[in-house]
């Protein structure tokens, strides 16, 4: 059982930022301004990170990869 007077750990703050903090610990967060400030800061950073765009290589990269891969020919030979 967790002591509800204990401040949130970094793991718990991350859980809270993801909406996964157990209700019992959320009670502490509601009462503790220190934890709320810390949690809000963490949530802002996490939100910025999860919203980062995904990048893709230029078209044609895959063709260049396949040109360098050894393909197993039906004869049993390996060809580049």
């Amino acid at each position: 059982m967790t002591d509800n007077t204990m401040h949130l750990t970094t793991d718990e703050i991350e859980l809270w930022a993801q909406g996964l903090l157990p209700a019992a610990r959320a009670i502490h967060l509601a009462d503790c301004s220190l934890c709320r400030v810390e949690a809000e800061r963490e949530r802002k950073i996490i939100l910025e990170l999860v919203q980062l765009p995904k990048f893709a290589p230029n078209a044609g990269s895959w063709t260049r990869v396949m040109a360098q891969v050894k393909v197993h020919a039906p004869s049993g030979d390996w060809t580049a």
Binding site: T10, D11, R41, E42, I45, I46, E48, L49, V50, L52, P53, K54, F55, A56, P57, N58, S61, W62, R64, V65, Q68, V69, K70
Partner: protein, 163 residues
């Protein structure tokens, strides 16, 4: 995987080369894949190793906007700092500046490569701590520490910018 490489080396052409190198290794070494690992983790492991090897070889961890970690005087920091505008004439550099020029991207670039890998796998790729530990061959506690420190450093860098 390309996003991770690109954010690690901050050079689109180089990231494409490393992505190609990764896929060639994956496809040519498919027999060495151990099914107890997630396939995507195996690919990320190869990609991350390629990026880290490259950064070590080329000492690009001096990408820090404040200069090389070894720089102790203001002159040394200036001499080794990255000037983002230096390559602005090239169209590719313009693309990179547009893609990686936001405050958060610039803050990520200032992190140590080990922190960068961990934070990107955690919050951009959505890996669990355990998956990151497996992928990067690091103890679970180290992964947690790196991610916590990385978030703290990002906060400081972003707060500096806002001041």
């Amino acid at each position: 995987m390309f996003s991770l490489l690109y954010r690690m080396v901050r050079d689109r052409a180089l990231a494409e080369d490393l992505a190609q190198e990764t896929f060639v290794k994956v496809l040519n070494g498919i027999k060495s894949y151990r099914p107890e690992f997630k396939f995507s983790s195996w690919i990320f492991k190869i990609a991350n190793n390629a990026a880290i090897d490259h950064l070590r070889r080329k000492h690009i961890d001096t990408l820090s906007l404040d200069g090389a970690p070894s720089a102790e005087t203001p002159d040394q920091m200036r001499a080794t700092s990255l000037q983002l505008g230096d390559r602005a004439e090239s169209p590719l550099a313009e693309v990179e500046n547009r893609e990686l020029g936001t405050a958060i991207e610039r803050a990520i670039a200032r992190l140590r490569p080990e922190y960068r890998s961990c934070i990107l796998l955690r919050h951009v790729e959505g890996y669990s701590y355990e998956e990151i530990a497996d992928t990067l061959d690091l103890p679970l506690g180290t992964v947690k520490t790196y991610i916590h420190r990385a978030r703290n450093e990002l906060r400081v860098y972003l707060e500096d910018r806002r001041d």
